[in-house]
């Protein structure tokens, strides 16, 4: 065959997950930073900066679930039972934070309840996503097309570390997003936060990278033999350049560059994870070809994806463009 459909699909799913991570990453990050808001006006600004777009951002998570079911049903069928508790906790956390956008403005007495729900929901969802990532890196026991491990296999010091890393990373994305969208004291506070979060995030990425090869010797091989080792050179170099971009632009008082730098830090980390995983979709034993649905499913879904994803990116971009610029504190229809 001219095109290897499972390979193409692995690329598309990776793209969808990455898009989800950076988009919902910054709006979950705003939620994680929410407790640091000093006034009602700050809170309104933070909420309003993501209110028109959070729903679209989270749709990429549904695409991740639906897409995985469509093209790698076996991976979907193994990962979800294996990560039962983190996934369900994440879903419940997302419920709390999602309704906060509408509920918060609807009540005076219960406003604090939904604000706590918004902040805690965002932080817990981020933590669970990080744990999921760590658990996949750690490897999942599969016997006879099904998950064969225990209920708590996902919990380890390594996964707690990846969980916390993602919380810090999302908070970094959120703080740099707010630098872009706000001004004055709130923006200044976010600059300070971004500097600290940048240090924590990069330290966490470094630690996870060092520990990953010890999770499974195969990762070591991938990174230190050709062709992986070519990337092994590029990824740390790119990371170093981005570190410089992040901190220098924060220091110089740029509005947009810190956000771009944090986005790219996520992209590079994601590429790193991809190098470790490939060609498996459920490490250490299920490859993308084993997990793939029959070609007829892959092909049918591919047509629609190729036609619709550019369109989606187009109008999503347009929606971002409509709501560009600093957030107006009086905006919103409540």
């Amino acid at each position: 065959m001219l095109f290897d459909l499972p390979f193409i699909w692995a690329g598309i799913i990776a793209f969808a997950v990455l898009t989800y991570v950076i988009l919902d990453g910054f709006d979950l990050g705003v939620g994680i930073l929410f407790p640091f808001a000093k006034s009602e006006q700050d809170k309104d600004l933070m909420m309003n900066s993501i209110a028109p777009v959070w729903d679209g951002n989270e749709t990429w998570l549904i695409l991740g679930g639906g897409g995985l079911l469509a093209v790698f049903p076996l991976a979907y069928a193994i990962i979800l039972p294996a990560l039962y508790l983190p996934i369900i906790t994440m879903l419940l956390a997302l419920i709390f934070r999602g309704v906060a956008f509408e509920y918060r403005g609807r009540t005076k007495r219960w406003k604090p309840v939904w604000e706590v729900g918004f902040a805690a929901g965002s932080a817990i969802a981020a933590m669970m996503q990080g744990i999921t990532l760590g658990a996949l890196v750690q490897g999942i026991t599969v016997v006879d097309r099904a998950y064969a491990g225990g209920w708590w296999d996902w919990l380890s010091p390594f996964t707690v570390l990846t969980g916390l890393s993602v919380v810090a990373g999302y908070a970094l994305l959120g703080s740099t997003w707010l630098i872009l969208k706000t001004e004055g004291a709130l923006q200044q506070m976010m600059r300070d936060k971004a500097t600290m979060l940048g240090i924590i995030t990069l330290a966490a990425i470094g630690t996870v990278s060092v520990l990953t090869p010890f999770q499974d010797p195969i990762y070591f091989q991938r990174w230190f033999s050709l062709p992986g080792s070519l990337y092994t050179m590029v990824v740390p170099l790119a990371m170093a350049a981005l570190t410089w971009l992040l901190f220098s632009s924060l220091k110089a008082g740029h509005d947009a560059r810190p956000f771009i730098a944090s986005l790219l830090i996520f992209v590079v980390s994601f590429v790193g994870v991809g190098i470790s995983f490939y060609p498996n979709i459920v490490p250490p034993s299920v490859s993308i070809w084993e997990a793939a649905a029959p070609d007829s499913s892959l092909r049918f879904t591919l047509y629609g994806t190729l036609a619709l994803v550019p369109l989606i990116l187009g109008y999503t971009g347009y929606a971002y463009w409509v709501f560009r610029g600093n957030v107006n504190p009086d905006e919103g229809y409540h």
Binding site: I62, G65, G67, L69, Y103, R106, W151, S296
Partner: protein
């Protein structure tokens, strides 16, 4: 607390619970999005501020309902995998692409334009705002189309083969999407969403009419809702009947359970209006029935023979009691809706639509009826499909994943707690928004008394 329940029973309870909560919100969103599109179009066309007032009024309610739909929907996209992973592995190649198309063609469309619809009128101008509003409405309909294609395929599977690892493999996508029950189910469901919304709108209007009969916005929405009831309720009854005949053809056991026909009737089956199913003795106790009417309805012939559940192996029999009752609840509400529709037409004809306080009271009472009927219908069709997940091809008991009862029970409890808390609060806010009367629309410029400046 769930001792003695199997993982399968708990997983079924969990799925039923999460989807029953979820289905209410998209059904309301489908109806409201269409209502908002019509209101906005009428406002732009006529410049009558009443429509704009109503648009702004229902927009706030829509936003809360839509938000609840989104978060409960994210749960659904992962519910297949957590408890039903064997089902996911086997049916993923067919259901997955349908759900992926739903996300790509519907969810992104809704989410992408929702922000502009809610917050963007001033930023993009009336034309693009109208476009965004219409896109949200189209998105909700697209979503219904794909999800009902997936659900219908589980009811009347077609266009597949089974591969060597036991997966359903697509052979003919056209046959899969346009499977035998899909058109009927889609029409029935979309009409149900329209009707549910109309009766919810009518209840809000009726409530405010009882308190204040002079608010133009209230009168307008009552009138619009009553038109919908009068027009859509009879269409829905016809569509439901057609759907029933389709079910008789493809899932006869479901219809036997709906009708309460334990026994075969070789020369004309009675229509059992009411009775108490007795699954042990396999009969309907205290049945009130009209002879031969069931044969007339289902076969258009008084003496046509109808097979009963005695022809179905016990292991393939759906739970009769649930299906029997849920079906009757749906039907009773359907005819009550028709009654309201006819009543409103008569009052409109007499010119007393806004004065008949009993009609307004009845509308308030019927407010939640659409959603109850919708859930009852959903229960009828889903429980009626048992004991299969893919009708005739995959049993429910063989669909469950490697999960233990305590884990499923614990997550079920968590869902129950969170859903009642979060969606209970949401419902409270929706009611509070509804309790507020719509603003009195400002008079149109041309009817306003003009202050002439004396020279």
């Amino acid at each position: 607390m769930f001792d003695g329940f199997t993982a399968e029973a708990l997983a079924r309870a969990q799925f039923a619970f999460t989807i029953s909560f979820h289905i209410i919100f998209p059904a309301f969103s489908i109806g409201l999005a269409r209502f908002l599109t019509v209101l906005n179009a009428l406002w732009l066309r006529t410049q009558d501020r009443t429509y704009l007032t109503l648009f702004e009024y229902w927009k706030k309610i829509f936003a809360v309902v839509f938000g609840m739909g989104v978060v409960s929907g994210i749960v659904m996209s992962y519910q297949f995998g957590t408890n039903w992973s064997v089902f996911s592995d086997k049916t993923g190649p067919i259901l997955g692409p349908l759900l992926a198309y739903e996300v790509l063609s519907a969810f992104f469309l809704e989410a992408g334009f929702l922000g502009i619809m809610l917050f963007g009128r001033e930023k993009v101008g009336p034309r693009l705002h109208m476009f965004a509003t219409a896109m949200v409405a189209i998105g909700t309909l697209m979503s219904a189309t794909w999800i009902l294609a997936a659900n219908s395929w589980m009811q009347t599977p077609a266009g597949y083969s089974i591969n060597d690892v036991g997966q359903f493999t697509p052979e003919d996508w056209w046959a899969i999407i346009f499977n035998p029950s899909f058109p009927y189910r889609l029409v029935h469901m979309v009409l149900a969403a329209f009707l549910s919304t109309s009766f919810a709108v009518a209840a809000v209007a009726g409530w405010h009419l009882l308190k204040d009969g002079n608010n133009g916005a209230t009168l307008r929405m009552f009138s619009m809702a009553m038109w919908m009831a009068a027009i859509v309720a009879p269409i829905q009854i016809v569509a439901g009947d057609a759907h029933g005949l389709n079910t008789l053809e493809h899932q006869p056991a479901k219809v036997m359970a709906m009708e309460g026909h334990y026994d075969s009737h070789p020369d004309g089956a009675p229509l059992i209006l009411f009775g108490i199913p007795n699954p042990q003795e396999k009969r309907i106790d205290y049945a009130i029935q009209i002879p031969k009417l069931s044969s007339l309805i289902l076969k258009h012939d008084l003496n046509a023979p109808l097979a009963g559940l005695d022809t179905v192996p016990d292991a393939e029999e759906p739970p009769v009691t649930v299906v029997f009752w849920s079906f009757r609840i749906m039907i009773a509400i359907g005819f009550a809706m028709l009654g309201i529709g006819i009543w409103s037409l008569w009052r409109r004809w007499k010119g007393t639509l806004y004065q008949d306080r009993w009609l307004h009271r009845a509308s308030v009472l019927m407010g939640p009826s659409g959603f109850v009927a919708l859930l009852a219908g959903w229960v009828t069709t889903e429980v009626g499909r048992q004991p299969f997940t893919v009708y005739g091809a995959l049993r429910t008991v063989d669909s469950i994943g490697p999960v233990d009862a305590p884990a499923v029970g614990a997550s079920l409890l968590a869902f129950i707690w969170v859903y009642f808390f979060v969606f209970g609060a949401g419902l409270f806010y929706v009611f509070r928004l509804m309790r507020q009367a719509p603003d009195r629309p400002a008079p149109s410029p041309d009817t306003q008394p003009v202050n002439t400046v004396q020279a």
